[in-house]
Symmetry: C2
Subunit: 219 residues, 2 copies
DNA sequence: ACATTATTTTAGGCATAACTAAAACAAACT
DNA sequence: AGTTTGTTTTAGTTATGCCTAAAATAATGT
């Protein structure tokens, strides 16, 4: 049986694989807030169940089966987030936490009803792509706003959904995924990033700017 | 910590207390599909935690604290059922099962948003009352249609939400809570119950009739 | 009152998923 | 190559929540 706990492991491994080709035990332990020794035990079980390949001291990699399960959980998570924002009016800084629970309980029938009600959306409120029913995902190539050159226009692609404080801050400023902005200038020592959004000017610090992922506009 | 399992125990005890003043271990075990010995272990723990009083060999009774927790779970369950029927278009025979999961994961904030979106409803789709935020519930006095006398009018009050087949059957016939019907006649041996609903005549068997709870109409 | 039957509890186990402490291994540094 | 450091695994426990089999208690019938 695939428990909620297993789903969380698979999801975490999937996300860490965007950074590590083979996910180290410690990274996974850190991400799940579980002791490394406990993780070793669980990944052995997951390997036995065919969800991942495990090479001792080398880390783990999801099998196609593990990947499928992970994408399914992520799909429900992101659909749930968008549903709560659009249909229930839940603030975008709170939906991630709620979706951590919804992702484990929504039936396939509900998953599909919600998807249809939302008009088969492509992205969650934080800009992450929603995997298709068949498990296809396409991540947009993006980079931190801090790496953008002054004078260049870009579109906000994605923001960290696990940081409610950041989300509230950006939400108030209107800096949400899909919005077009221009980086007007960078103050000395990277201390301030001056942004133009439509007609308004917004100044944000380096810390916040580094957490806004953008894509350049290609015609 | 109040786990999902504890919530299910408290809910089951609450519902059994409508039948037993003190709930026997076996009845609870039966209702939860758990061995009686396991139930003994759990109720000891729940007693220690102050959710119920336990007299060995005599059964259990919820304390005010246990009652409060039980009503909270039931409230979320019924709100979730109605939400799924009205807002997500889920058939009424499927929502009970889904709500068994939702009842454990909805935050208070979502509970309240859903309640407001539904316009502070009083009953779930199957006719059971939705406890208020303060834990008030009022059950309507109802009895099986089989106990109604021929020629008398009544309103369908409540149907068993755990029986999808019955619900589909009644749903197709339009025999849902709130509908006014008249019991026209009862065929010999209680073999058939002839109902008038508006202009249409409906015949149903004793088995089904016994599961429709009605209230007589008082002017 | 005594025996039979039904209910409930006790005793002993098991699976899951976590923990800490100690040992083993791998990587990096001199 | 040998030592230090960091990572990972092993070994041994723990808490939950379930199980079966046996013992205890309560209810019922003669
Ligand atoms: Mn999220
Ligand atoms: Mn989760
Ligand atoms: Mn129900
Ligand atoms: Mn439940």
């Amino acid at each position: 049986m695939v428990t909620e706990i297993i789903e969380n492991y698979l999801k975490a491994i999937y996300e860490l694989q965007r950074k590590y080709q083979s996910v180290p035990t410690n990274a996974l332990a850190e991400s799940l807030s579980i002791a490394p020794a406990s993780v070793t035990g669980m990944i052995k079980k997951l390997a036995e169940n065919g969800f991942l390949t495990y090479t001792p001291y080398r880390g783990v990699e999801l099998t196609p089966e593990g990947m499928e399960k992970a994408l399914k959980v992520i799909r429900v998570h992101r659909l749930a987030e968008l549903y709560m924002v659009k249909m229930l009016g839940v603030p975008w800084d709170k939906v991630h936490e709620e979706a951590e629970k919804w992702e484990h309980v929504l039936s396939e029938e509900l998953e599909e009803r919600i998807e249809a009600l939302l008009g088969y959306p492509k992205w969650c409120p934080h800009g992450s792509p929603i995997p298709s029913r068949e498990g296809k995902v396409e991540y947009v190539k993006s980079f931190p706003l801090t790496e953008l050159a002054a004078g260049i226009s870009a579109v906000i692609a994605e923001v960290d959904d696990r940081n409610p404080e950041l989300l509230r801050y950006l939400g108030e400023l209107g800096l949400i995924p899909g919005e077009e902005i221009e980086l007007v200038e960078i103050a000395p020592f990277d201390s301030l990033f001056r942004i133009k959004q439509g007609e308004s000017q917004i100044d944000i610090g380096k810390e916040a700017a580094s957490k806004i992922l953008v894509t350049v506009i290609v015609e």
